[in-house]
Symmetry: C2
Subunit: 319 residues, 2 copies
DNA sequence: TCTTTTTAAGAAAACGTTTGAAATGTTTTT
DNA sequence: AAAAACATTTCAAACGTTTTCTTAAAAAGA
């Protein structure tokens, strides 16, 4: 029996008779034949693999994203490989070089802060790999992106807080250098406006995300003359730092400053003092959408490719 | 210039002159040449990849293991692919089939509870893949394994508790069907003995790991006539369930029952009520050791292969 | 200068699979 | 009965790299 016959039989080619197909298949089982994927990938110049690049696996947000991606990938019989950049732009470039030589079919990436990978990512696209950003954007919006709709999230959070009686709602923002920080600050402002609350920049504080800096920001907030009663926080883990800080330094304030943060994490279930509520950014769904974009592009002609920019609605989850 | 010359030049073969090597390398950069790994893997019948199979990425313990593996793998220029079995034996078998066809060079696996994969793993070894178990063992000890030394951990925990004045130390054990549960129960007994504390089976309770069952076990413990003042818990996440249960149902007992669990997690940092201490099983080190075993075996002749069984010492981490 | 040795580069085969074309065998049509 | 159509199988080339073997050129020795 010729190799080509076997190949065609196993792949259900219709130029092979039913009888042969069955004979081949049963022999394959009997002889424990397992196709050599490396040879197949090589032949097809496809790896049946999409790569996920994230900052850190200890961040449960990204784990949920990955689970979403895996769900779609396994439906499509695709493999997923995961790399951590640790938010190190150099490491990120290394990772992408590696992905290029692997000829992965798609890359889903949450770029490192201060990413230097734009050119590499462009090159990846030139080579036919579908690149999809998640959560964090890059200048010029030239890549597919799936992220949560911060404006929707902020609006739901602020509206909820107003209903609870809050009128003085602060914002702890991320580093001004980050796209996401600006975006969420803007969302915060817009949400205040929609709720007829005046914007007051004295109760918007920035943190570089270190616990120390966050502590100082909170201290400053607590020293403003009209102390805020609630705060919208840039990111879930940051909310936890805020709570930790309050617990240590201002335990009396703990109940007087209600916290809502972007992002809801499974680990919240174990916390005593947790944010009042969280903006659930649907990480699993982000992963699924990103994976779907990848597969759509992988299966399409390169000519018809268009850039997709998806912002997913959030929900407000009481903790 | 012949492909063979290029190949040799890029791989630093010494039958190529220095001049040509440099010429090739500079042209490679200029033309953006990136070797096709798929072709290479195919040619070598090696994938330069080790696979990690774990139950769940949301368990930070395993994330730390993975980070350890990645550390060693990247030193060796190896790729790591991760799969989640979700403790589903069927899914696990599927995953391993996939790994077989990928011809991965090594598999590091924390087998699913009730794993049905022994035969598949044997087959994997026959095919030349190095199989290393982590944390969870399989009957007959035919595979390499890296795990923590429960006896060492339990001894340190019980000794510490005794020094704090505890004489009545309970044990919340995992399902009796699990190898690990038996192991740790045995370690608990041995540690009591070493500390001259009598073993009392009325204060050893089993849980199937569901929150409900754990609650019942704790309730039963609290109802024993000589109520324990401390408890050694099977696993980190289980400690959290215990604490959550006490908080809800017996808040007064929260400070009266000191808890030490197997496993220390990064998320503990955010908790108010946390176990008194944790047995740090050094997940990162487990990953590193497992990866080292893999590479040692990958680079060795199959003839000289021996089974390695490593039990790593623990430390006791105050929380 | 001629032979021998050394060095460097090229040629060809191989890895396992898939693919389209060619060959074989069978059936239908004329 | 010959030709045409069809069904099924096999052949041969290809994918990009590495490796072994060969060849060409240069250097060394006589």
């Amino acid at each position: 029996m010729a190799p080509s016959t076997v190949s065609k039989a196993l792949n259900g080619h219709n130029s092979i008779s039913q009888i042969t197909k069955e004979r081949v298949k049963s022999l394959a089982v009997e002889w424990n034949y397992i196709p050599n994927e490396a040879a197949r990938f090589f032949k097809h110049n496809k790896s049946q693999t999409i790569a996920v690049v994230i900052p850190d696996l200890l961040d449960q947000f990204y784990v949920l994203v990955i689970k979403g991606i895996e769900k779609i990938a396994s439906k499509n019989n695709y493999n997923v490989i995961i790399s951590e950049s640790n938010d190190d732009p150099g490491k990120e470039v290394e990772i992408i070089d590696n992905l290029i030589s692997k000829r992965v079919d798609g890359v889903i990436i949450s770029v490192a802060r201060n990413s230097k990978s734009v050119e590499k990512l462009k090159r990846l696209e030139q080579l036919g790999t579908c690149v999809t950003l998640i959560c964090r954007s890059l200048p010029n919006n030239i890549f597919n992106i799936v992220a949560s709709d911060s404006e929707d999230g902020a609006l739901k959070a602020i509206t909820f807080l107003k209903k609870r009686g809050h009128r003085r709602i602060a914002h702890l923002m991320g580093p001004k250098g980050f796209q996401a920080s600006k975006q969420r600050l803007h969302a915060y402002k817009k949400a205040l406006l929609a709720n007829n609350i005046a914007y007051d920049e004295t109760i918007v504080k920035e943190t570089n995300l270190s616990a120390k800096d966050t502590g100082e920001a909170i201290t400053a907030l607590l020293k403003t003359k009209d102390v805020p009663t609630a705060i919208l926080v840039f990111k879930s883990y940051l909310s936890l730092d805020v709570i930790n800080f309050l617990k240590k330094k201002y335990p009396d304030k703990l109940k007087k400053l209600e916290i809502i943060g972007f992002g809801k994490l499974p680990l919240f279930e174990f916390l005593d003092n947790k944010p009042l509520a969280s903006i659930d950014e649907k990480p699993g769904l982000i992963g699924e959408k990103a994976a779907e974009i990848s597969f759509k592009n992988i299966n399409e002609d390169t000519e018809t490719k268009t850039v997709e920019q998806i912002r997913l609605k959030c929900t407000l989850a009481k903790n």
